[in-house]
């Protein structure tokens, strides 16, 4: 009798614990379902439907994907756009990892002004990329921009070039602007990672006769490597979701001459400026970007697990 009461007690406690958990999870699950999961699934489904304006008319199979790869000029724009995303990612990750780490190391040496400098470097990160884009368009303006004026006033006028107006330099300039904006994040993350390394380890290394380079290779690098991996992942996702910055700088065609055209802009043109079946082809494009992101993140996480063994 006594035993069975105890068992019942255990069951109801467990049940009540699960029920409470479910109730507390419910609001978050509803929000996640409505704003993350549903749009995600809907986009994939929409990519397989034939649209007429805003109503789906029939099942299209892989028709929208075929359109994406065969309809001129989108087929040519698709490859150059994705290539621009990749180049943008490579440039951004080099600049952000390098300068983020340098800034973090320098910050550790400045005890007094650290908080102030952290705030200053993180400030652009708080601004909308649209504002950042318009600002840099003004700053680099070839007729009345301050950079142009300053270089000419100091006799360095021939150093000036319309960086955002030349196909050869526009993408590099854009990635530098983006890195300038988001350098605060890698700096903060690297700083946090460096702070977790106890000073005893440095002292021990010093006593063992490690040079500065050896300390960096065998102590700092392995300990900040996970942070670098996370940053690589974040930068890759951000690079493939790129839309607002190139839109603000180069318009919806990614001017000049398509040099700033990225997957996000092509998606926008397909889905919202086209006609008829735009939503279907646009969703197919979005699904494809999603698959690229999924493949890369999976590969990176897998590689990271491997890398952790030897770093």
């Amino acid at each position: 009798m006594l035993q069975s009461t105890a068992t019942m007690h255990g069951v109801t406690t467990r049940w009540s614990r699960h029920a409470w958990a479910a109730i507390f999870i419910l609001p978050a699950a509803l929000i996640y379902g409505a704003f993350i999961f549903y749009p995600l699934v809907a986009t994939v489904v929409w990519g397989f439907l034939e649209w007429n304006g805003t109503s789906a008319v029939s099942f299209a199979g892989f028709g929208n994907f075929r359109t994406l790869f065969t309809l001129y000029p989108f087929n040519t724009q698709l490859f150059s756009a994705v290539l621009h995303n990749i180049v943008f990612f490579l440039l951004s990750i080099i600049v952000q990892l390098l300068f983020g780490l340098i800034l973090a190391v320098l910050l550790r040496a400045r005890a007094k002004s650290r908080v102030f400098l952290q705030a200053i470097y993180t400030l652009p990160f708080m601004m909308s990329p649209i504002i950042v884009g318009y600002l840099w368009n003004l700053i680099l303006n070839p007729i009345f921009g301050p950079v142009y004026e300053a270089l000419h006033a100091t006799g360095l006028g021939n150093l000036y070039a319309p960086w955002l107006g030349q196909s050869s330099t526009a993408l590099v300039t854009l990635s530098l602007i983006s890195s300038w904006q988001s350098i605060g994040l890698p700096m903060l993350l690297f700083y946090a990672a460096l702070s977790t390394i106890p000073s005893e380890i440095y002292e021990a290394a010093k006593m063992d006769g490690c040079t500065g380079l050896q300390t960096f290779r065998w102590i700092i690098l392995p300990l900040v490597a996970p942070t670098a991996a996370v940053l690589t992942l974040l930068t890759f996702v951000a690079s493939f979701n790129l839309f607002d910055l190139p839109y603000a700088v180069g318009g919806v065609n990614g001017a000049p001459n398509g040099a700033l055209d990225v997957a996000g802009l092509l998606f926008y043109r397909l889905a919202f400026t086209g006609t008829g079946n735009g939503l279907g082809v646009g969703s197919a494009m979005a699904t494809m970007i999603g698959l690229i992101l999924l493949a890369f993140t999976t590969a990176l996480l897998w590689y990271r697990r491997l890398a952790e063994r030897w770093v």
Binding site: I23, T54, G165
Partner: protein, 445 residues
């Protein structure tokens, strides 16, 4: 063991969460049931609206800055139709179509929507979101010219789905004070135009302000510079009938003109965006700018006291021997098929074909009205529209070739940028436009 208090609290939480879900669902089903009944009981509701029950119609548009002006305009309608109030809601133009598509497909759309002209409204027609209007339901439209009604016509059925309200004219605008300073007149020939540009350039003034980043502006620039070169209406009718192609000389030459004017544009114009172009013109650094009548107020307010206009003289090898003014219908007002106030909306659309509305469009929102017998109020706009009515050219891409994917505007936009900032040859640019259109456009032979 679970106490009674626990059970009570948990029940309360479940009930309140459940209530939230149910209320969310019921509000949407409530709205949709109102919608589904809207079509069926439209006539009953309309009788109510024109007799006793006051109705408020919502009108959506892409001019949030002019919302109060539009509300003033619609107050004139309410003055004669006391039971129907009209509320204009403006959304930023960049997001408007997305917003409208969502509104029309869901349950929270407007009663009356400002619709894009020509190809732009076809998806809304095709999805069954709009009510067709005829000369029986809106008799006033029979007095509108066909090129104007084309802006609200279904390319599939030929039916009309909106009442057009205004046209926009394109051309070259200039700062009269700068022209006077260098003894220049508005050019009427290509040679006069080039001479004026040379004079200005030697004096250190940028002859023509320009930008190359705004994708929407590029086809308008091409029309302004190239309409007379490709031949305007005669080329358009030949092209639509399959008698000529974009790859033929007139259209290729229209891209050559874009190259010819490049020495007279701002240095490094490829790095300029629309605000940059406007600033150069309004600050007096540039003497001319291409644009449309809707920008006149902005330029004047920004400091161009004496603004002049000329239609671009035909460039080298032009098919037309005189300048042309390209125009397009700005948009139309159409009825959401899910609106529960069908008949009140129809009353408003009927009013939009009267001179009262045409005059209000001119005075209240400073546009060029399309109601026959009405005209704009601003003297400069009157002058431009008078030229347009004599030497008129309908915007080829926008009016006739944006109904499929890729749109002509998109192709021309890229082609202009490729020619002017990417070194593409005019022949290749024209070929690219033709190649894109060949995939869906079938001429009516």
């Amino acid at each position: 063991m679970m106490t009674r208090n626990h059970i009570r609290t948990m029940a309360a939480v479940i009930v309140s969460v459940g209530a939230l879900v149910v209320s969310a669902c019921s509000s949407s089903t409530g709205a949709s049931s109102a919608n589904t009944s809207g079509g069926a009981t439209g006539s009953q509701q309309s009788q109510a609206s024109s007799t006793d029950t006051p109705v408020t119609l919502t009108v959506w548009g892409w001019l949030p800055d002019q919302a109060s002006a539009f509300n003033g305009l619609f107050a004139k309608f309410t003055a004669t139709h006391p039971n129907i109030k009209v509320q204009y809601q403006g959304y930023p133009v960049q997001n408007y179509q997305t917003q409208l598509n969502a509104g029309l497909s869901g349950s929270n759309g407007p009663d009356i929507a400002t619709l894009q002209a020509y190809g732009g409204l076809q998806p809304n027609i095709d999805s069954g979101s709009l009510v067709a209007i005829t000369d029986k339901t809106v008799p006033g439209i029979s007095a509108f010219p066909t090129p104007i009604l084309d802006a609200a016509r279904s390319t599939k059925s030929g039916g009309i789905y909106g009442v057009p309200y205004a046209v926009q004219d394109l051309g070259v605008f200039y700062n009269e004070d700068i022209f006077a300073k260098y003894n220049l007149k508005a050019p009427t020939t290509w040679d006069e135009f080039i001479q004026a540009c040379e004079t200005l350039k030697k004096a250190g003034v940028i002859p023509m302000s320009w930008e190359s980043k705004d994708a929407n502006a590029q086809p308008r620039k091409h029309e302004t510079m190239g309409a007379a070169v490709y031949g305007g209406p005669s080329f358009t009718s030949d092209f639509l009938a399959g008698k000529t192609k974009m790859t033929d000389k007139p259209f290729v030459d229209s891209f050559q003109v874009m190259k010819d004017i490049m020495p007279y544009l701002p240095p490094d114009f490829a790095a300029l965006d629309d605000p940059g172009e406007q600033t150069l013109f309004t600050s007096g650094k540039a003497a001319m700018v291409t644009g449309g009548v809707w920008q006149i107020d902005t330029w004047r307010q920004a400091g161009v006291k004496n603004l002049g206009f000329f239609p671009m003289p035909p460039g080298p090898g032009a098919a037309s021997d005189h300048p042309l003014v390209t125009f397009y219908v700005d948009g139309s007002f159409g009825i959401n098929s899910k609106s529960p106030h069908q008949s009140a909306a129809l009353e408003l659309l009927n009013w939009m074909t009267t001179k009262d509305f045409g005059n209000a469009i001119a005075t209240d929102v400073s546009m060029i009205p399309v109601v026959p017998g009405t005209k704009p109020t601003d003297p400069l706009v009157q002058e431009i529209n008078a030229i347009q009515q004599k030497e008129s050219n309908t915007f080829l891409c926008y009016a006739y070739l944006n109904g499929g994917s890729p749109t002509c505007s998109d192709l021309v936009s890229h082609a202009v940028q490729d020619v002017m900032t990417g070194g593409m040859s005019p022949a290749d640019a024209a070929a690219s436009v033709q190649k894109g259109l060949d995939q869906w456009f079938a001429p009516k032979k």
